[in-house]
């Protein structure tokens, strides 16, 4: 059986192991968190190199793909470079191809409606999803500056998002990654100050990275829809308690949790032998039989206990 490991900068409390069927073949997948320790993550990747079929990079993006430009985060490049034999992937290839497709399918099936207001907590790491929301007419706020840098400035168009990417990313990719994104135990800490509840209140759909969402999660999610992944059974209980109407994960739910895109991408690479920068990658993703997951957590309009 093929074996892939996700080496994550996230908390080791979320470690797990299971099997997933990709293209009619079972693949063993496991996640190993390193609690934000870059040295430990690099050592782990070195030790896995040549012994597993693919490695996923979790809790960190290697590539930020915005329109026709790809920016490489230097810390992630250094981590990936620790493997000389085994391919290392970060999920960006899956996010670019699969997530916009999922959004369009959810609209086609009436699960999402373009009249809804969307809060995408971070868009530069999932530009495909952002572009799908904007292009389909959703009034969408990208919260990259708000939730990553604590600058209360909502980005409200795809053109402005692209401008921010062109101006900021060539420099920001050189910063220590921990300055850009919570790693290790920081993922579990509530923010000192949270004055961004208005953006959650105004949104019908809350989308994007679940660590950002959970950090700023308001008391009430009554009637709202969430599009994310990497949620666990405990996360679902929390969201149900807060009144969330529907939880949509763009990756399949296995053993009660939806896996990170890096895990699924690593499994696809292990199974197909095709890397995300291969011209055949889009076809591999679309023919892999991936499933998104839609779960109604509170079916009645006034249900939930979040107020």
């Amino acid at each position: 059986m093929k074996h892939v490991v996700s080496v994550s900068l996230g908390s080791s409390r979320r470690d797990h192991q299971t099997d997933v069927a990709i293209m009619q073949e079972n693949i063993q997948i496991s996640r190993q968190g390193t609690d934000g320790d870059m040295v430990r993550a690099k050592d782990l990747i070195e030790s896995l190199d040549g012994h597993v079929d693919a490695i996923g990079l979790g809790g960190i993006d290697r590539y930020l793909v915005v329109k026709d430009r790809r920016y490489e985060i230097q810390d992630a490049k250094a981590l990936a470079g620790a493997a000389k034999i085994t391919p290392v992937v970060d999920g960006s290839g899956l996010k670019a191809v699969w997530e916009p497709y999922v959004i369009r399918q959810l609209v086609a099936r009436g699960v999402l409606e373009p009249a809804q207001k969307v809060l995408l907590v971070s868009a530069l790491d999932r530009f495909g999803m952002a572009q799908a929301f904007y292009e389909m007419g959703f009034a969408t706020v990208a919260g990259d500056l708000i939730f990553s840098s604590h600058i209360d400035y909502p980005i409200a168009s795809v053109e402005e998002l692209e401008e921010f990417a062109r101006k900021l990313l060539p420099d920001m990719i050189k910063m220590p990654f921990a300055m850009l994104y919570p790693t290790g135990s920081a993922q579990d800490q509530a923010p000192v100050e949270n004055s961004y509840g208005k953006y959650f209140e105004q949104a019908d759909v809350i989308a994007g990275d679940f660590h950002f969402i959970r950090r700023y999660l308001p008391a009430s999610l009554r009637g709202k829809i969430m599009v994310t992944n990497t949620t666990t059974a405990a996360d679902r209980e929390l969201l149900q308690f807060r009144g969330l109407k529907t939880l949509i994960t763009t990756t399949p739910v296995l053993d009660g949790r939806s896996f990170g895109t890096n895990v699924i991408e690593a499994a696809l690479v292990a199974r197909s032998g095709t890397l995300p920068d291969d011209p055949q990658w889009d076809r591999v993703v679309m023919q892999a039989g991936l499933q998104w997951d839609v779960r109604v957590l509170n079916s009645l309009p006034d249900s939930g206990k979040g107020d």
Partner: protein
């Protein structure tokens, strides 16, 4: 140096987007060249930036570097990240404030 900081402040103040981004950011920033005796400051209040020379009390953020590095950063010829990563630009204060200053300079001069 003062002229550079004043031009930086003007670039911020004439940029509507930066004024909106900084509308709730009230800070005093001490600029301390390590190779010159003079000290400078920037203040941010209600979206507007001011620059001046002289000591300040209770700065929220202290920036220390050689005169030429500070001038290069605030005139847009050098991004703050490079000297910061190299240890040539020392910042004492919150990470959020450092990040915001970086973003401001990139939005003025980036691309």
């Amino acid at each position: 140096m003062l002229q550079t900081l004043e031009q930086f402040a003007e670039a911020c103040n004439t940029n509507a987007r930066l004024r909106q981004m900084n509308r709730d950011w009230s800070r005093t920033i001490a600029i301390l060249p390590t190779d010159r005796p003079e000290v400078f400051w920037l203040t941010s209040k209600e979206g507007f930036i001011q620059a001046g020379q002289g000591p300040v009390n209770a700065a929220d953020l202290q920036i220390r570097a050689d005169h030429d590095i500070i001038v290069a950063v605030f005139s847009g010829t050098l991004s703050p990240t490079e000297p910061y990563n190299a240890g040539d630009l020392l910042v004492k204060g919150s990470q959020d404030d450092l990040m915001r200053l970086d973003i401001i300079t990139l939005l003025i001069w980036g691309e």
